[in-house]
Symmetry: D2
Subunit: 450 residues, 4 copies
């Protein structure tokens, strides 16, 4: 492909001794070898790549796009002309974006390099999901949209023909604004099946779901990752139910890739019934900047459909970000992070548990491999309200303080009996995050009760 | 804000003479001064910024976001954790993206700097449109979506209440896949009013549009920039028509900012009737990488509505790219590009005209300030077909070759009589693009006819 | 050399159509082609390279050095270990520097890539000098030292054997501190032959030089570029004189490459007698940051000697900087700069001449293709003194104001009759530099005389 | 100094809530705070800075230099004009270099920012040496030269007046080419006092040194760090001897900062007698790219003298590199590296010792806190010769194999009885370096003896 023969000739005839040149070549090959393997195996590399290697790949590919061709004559209205070299950084050189006439994964004649980049990235998306618990998916695509908009897109793609006049989606209660908006945006109705309390946990029994089915329903949403007290759905049963009733079934696996337990639920669901698409955030699961999602499916055609439904082109950056994440962590790096997440989750529960005992509260008994919830029955309404602000000022980000007396949204049911706080030990968090957060929570708590 | 007093003290007590320090301070202030002016005037700077100045702004703001806080305790499931430093480049440091719970322009507590960045960027978007022909818009927002998906979003936001059961959109024939997909995606029906031939041009008479109105229609689309033979719509009349009939009216101004004539049409339309939203591509008009659009409106509330309809967060990169473009060109730089566009448009027509004469063809008489069309009546069907590939291989990108006998899609009517080729002299194209393109077209033409 | 076959295989089997791949390959080859040509021709490229191309070359070569080898076992005391990735930027990746045991251009086993980089850079140094007026040099080396220290190094290398007890160097008066220091540093004596006034110019007649020769002299320095009223030396005659008397002859051509006239003097001198070494600044002639020099010689052995005399290794950065300059300008770019320099020199003389007339002063009649001097006889001693500071505060850098009454150093003679100001139109200066400087000089002048 | 008030005003009037702005300001201040502390304390920071913080400092300072002033009128022959933006990277923006008319640390009117950068860097140089064992030095300077050339410069600066005709330097045998060249370069004679064998070690007894003193001697060199079998000099006694005999005494502490024991020797020597200058490599001690040295002295005037002796300006890069190292490691990071070095040194001795036992050889009994030597008496001459190449091919860099029968240079004596190999566990080496090196040595050994 790249012909470096003249350079080699120079090397041969230079003053540099042969064994030194061989040594140099050896180092260079070591640098370039992972690129070869990537294209050969179409899989997430085992070992992390260096930034320079990632850069080299991105530069080589983006230098195949026609906007880099100084001898091109460009007379379209869209030619990836840029105002500043800084744009090459933010786009990693892929100024043409991805997609063609509203077919996300279609090759773009003006962007051969960008097209290759997108193709290999989608291979990695499929590969990482297969490696983290979903061997039974057939295809996956990285979309430059977050979970919410990805759900809109998926609904738009998988909605019934205009001849079939069904417009309702079953939603086992999920108190999450973006999700509900994504359905509203598309003009569909939601039929929410309310959560019920089981001990500390909130669940939506499959019988309730069955009871709510009516003729206008064409789809059902289910979730894995969510925050307590809401537990994951019984996805396997929902999957069977979807199959029996010919419903589109979309699993929102927002940050669920990090838990092998959640992933196992999806795998069984795929085997047991009908799952059309599984949507996961690239930033929450794969440590990219916000802006992308991986949509996967056990049916190749569905992904194709979704890809073709997108209207127009899109920024290549969220796609590149996923690629960067995969290459910079490698499978081994990612597995190490999964392990650390588990350890941090244990640490969080232990630390919070210790503090709970001190203040006569308790860890709520809710299954969640990422988050931990602690009761706050000792606090008065005003104190609960003050807690969030106090934590923000103490530089704790991400905790959720709920007081069902004031607002039920977030509890996923209508009658949760007690206030509580939720903290996450999510992938990428450090031990320090956990220990600092609990220490400062303690500090904030005593500030408030005084 | 930033307290540099200790540094100043060092300077004072250093071995560096006072007048040298003053000189140094002078240079540094010159470097920083544009930042002050930007926030003071909230307007596109007159003169271009240097890359270093843009970098400095982006770094300062992104260093206000909580993910940069090494003393933070981060226990959310989404904390803008990243796998690689390369992500800081692709996101310009704004790893939290933009938007909050599906409200694009809402400030994010975890991203104070990103929130400021987005706010100032939206000011610049409004400002540049006011400066290029639309003084009568009230608000604008940069969305991380291309024109097509922006139309979907806008339709989703401005669609009637679910109580009102109207689902049809009037579309004066626009043969553009992304656009049609964007309506399909949302589940709406299109009622296309076919184009008619007027001399060389294809137009959709307002009477035809009126005649097509029925009870299910709730919106109408109109366009400015498009490729010949289709001319821009009579937006002013459509605007009046929309007002009279209570229709949502969305103007697709895809790459129309570059033409003061097209912009004038929109300005009059706003004044004369009802325009809900005007959508323009950031890459086609403002030389960013693909991935963003500016949505503007004469009614502040509409923009607010659109911003709130977005489901979830989004990549900050398309927003940052628009900001980079505005700062790196400045108003003066942008105006210079507009002037060059006009000159190149003239050059293109002259060069193509000269060649047309040689081969007994003619420039089609169609109003278009960006594109020029040339008849290809001399060529046989097979030759016409071969022309596109020949041009691609000669490294000409962007020309469109149409043969209505083979395929009417693209002509915006059912009976266009002759084949033709379209070339654009769009903003950002160079003189060389134009001359090379015509030369190579000539070459390809003679290759083919031989 | 680099085997990309696996990548090609992926391309072939990908979804990307063949003609698109060919197009991408074409663009990539265009990008890489200059590298091939560089190593084939070992000459300054005709056309400028892009920054990305330069980067690619530097990265490829620096990735051959052993410090990049993650599988190396490094048990030396010097292994190019670095504390920060930022060091890769400042060294362009060549952390091992250049040189081995005090032989600058010897290949370093730990740095095959760095060794190739240095070798090709020295070829370019020889090539650019041959192209700008010195076809008769045989070798050249880029040293990581400025002109002054390069003279010290050259003197150290070419000094007589310790058995020959000669320690004096003839210097036709050059009032330049660094130069005199460079001789002092080496412990040699200078025998300065005083300048004499010829009209406005200061010259050192060859007869005076002859008269000053004594038994302790082993070398003579001559100069081309200097500031008025001192003119260049009669290098040809000095060259003959050096040959006759067996003196080492070193030409200080500090910023003389930019003038074909000065270069012609050296060429003739080489042909007519003895020139051992010619020293030129990389920053003054080739627009690098400060820190390097090119030492050239008509005798290959001399360059070898100098290279072997350097004690230890050195920073690779000044070498890389010269390489960057050559590649980023290309021969055509450099020649354009030379032409602009000539035009700016004319402009400077015209502008200064116009002002001179206004204030009844005159341009001094001194040959200098870069600088122009203007008499300041109207000003009082205190006013002359104030002028320098006034110009500095008006942001004019580089002018020299001389008042022989106060200080003769700088005039290169003992009795220069009048005060004057010198300005340069050096390579790389812009038209704006010239016009602003004269305008502000005018402003400062009137401030002072009021 | 920098007035950000307009920006603050925007923040206040923006849509961003006040508590979010405070939070953002807090993060930004945390980012900028280390800069304040640096200039306040003029000391190596305790904690490492991030790359972005270092970048920010370098950019702010380099943006004070006049070459960044777009409103300057530059009419000197040297104005830090650059051919490419890449030069800003290699020079960290300090295109003017350091030094003025051959006074390295003199402020440059054209480079106020560069001058401040150099001043603070020299403070850090003094500070780190005071913190690593030399509280009794008074000043230090970072020079853009390696150890060898730094010795040349120091000798040039501290040599006797030309009236005093002394030209010999006492050198306790040091078999290091660069060092000997640095003396040759300056035209001085070396009087080498031969090493003697004491057990396994080679030392030069102080009595022998005393005996060699003659009237032509004006200076003496001593060393700390060197490779076995040569041990460090008895610097304290040499210091007394230098004082008694009025000799300039220069300590070559090439890579000695990493050992508190070697540093202790120098500290005592300073207290006990005369030490003029101590020279240490920046790359070997402080993990910069090759190209700089720190020269320190207990007498402030000596450093001033050396600084003033340099002929001309120099590249700023080696200075910046030292600054980058200090900021990126911080004192705590540096101390951790020192600790790791000690552990790796122990590991190296243990691993080599184990292998020595297997092959009936032994670790030589020589004091050296960095290197370990192993006897190779089992090997034949040809085998010893082959060992070096074998190790190079196995990617082991840095080991030294000596066979005194073939070549005595390197043993620092005339009659070392046995062959040996030396390996280093130097600062910055990893555990992997050590284990891999010994494993591969073992492999190479068995390859060779078969």
């Amino acid at each position: 492909m790249v012909d470096f023969s003249k350079i080699s000739e120079f090397f041969e005839s230079s003053n540099i001794p042969k064994n030194m040149l061989n040594r140099g070549q050896l180092v260079l090959n070591e640098f370039l070898n992972p690129l070869k393997i990537l294209f050969e195996q179409r899989a997430v590399p085992d070992k992390p790549w260096t930034d320079d290697q990632i850069d080299f790949l991105l530069q080589t590919l983006s230098n195949m796009d026609t906007d880099k061709d100084i001898n091109a004559a460009r007379v379209g209205e869209r030619e990836a002309r840029i105002a500043s070299k800084l744009h090459l950084r933010t786009s990693a050189g892929f100024c043409h974006g991805v997609g063609r006439s509203g077919f996300l994964s279609a090759p773009q004649p003006k962007a051969p390099g960008g097209s290759i980049m997108y193709e290999i990235t989608n291979y990695l998306a499929r590969n990482i999901l297969r490696n983290t618990g979903l061997p039974n998916i057939k295809d996956a695509i990285v979309v430059p949209l977050c979970t919410g908009m990805s759900l809109s897109l998926t609904l738009g793609a998988l909605k019934p023909d205009s001849s079939i006049n069904k417009r309702t989606i079953l939603v086992p209660q999920i108190d999450h604004k973006s999700l509900l908006k994504s359905i509203d945006l598309m003009g569909f109705q939601t039929k929410i099946i309310p959560g019920q309390i089981f001990g500390d946990a909130v669940r939506i029994p499959i019988e309730q779901i069955r009871n709510n089915l009516d003729d206008d329903c064409f789809a059902i949403i289910s979730i894995t990752s969510f925050f307590p007290p809401r537990e994951h759905d019984n996805i396997k049963e929902i999957s069977k139910f979807a199959q029996e009733n010919n419903l589109v079934h979309i699993v929102i696996n927002a940050y669920g890739v990090q838990s092998s337990e959640w992933m196992k639920l999806i795998r069984s669901a795929i085997d047991a019934g009908r799952v059309d698409a599984i949507i996961q955030s690239t930033d929450k699961n794969f440590l990219t900047p916000v802006g992308g999602a991986v949509i996967a499916s056990p049916i190749k055609e569905k992904i194709n459909k979704i890809s073709q439904t997108y209207a127009g082109r899109a920024s290549a950056t969220p796609v590149v970000n996923f690629l960067i994440s995969m290459l910079s962590m490698g499978l081994s790096g990612y597995q190490r992070l999964l392990k650390e997440q588990q350890e941090n989750r244990e640490l969080l529960e232990r630390k919070l548990g210790e503090f709970a005992e001190k203040i006569n509260q308790r860890i709520l008994d809710i299954y969640n491999p990422v988050a931990v919830a602690l009761s706050l029955q000792n606090l008065k309404q005003k104190q609960i309200y003050a807690l969030g602000g106090a934590l923000y000022n103490l530089r704790v980000t991400g905790p959720r303080v709920y007081n069902p007396e004031e607002n039920t949204f977030g509890t996923c049911c209508s009658n949760y009996p007690i206030p509580y706080i939720v903290m996450n030990a999510a992938i990428g968090a450090s031990e320090q995050d956990i220990t600092f957060a609990v220490e400062r929570f303690e500090k904030a708590y005593y500030q408030i009760v005084q």
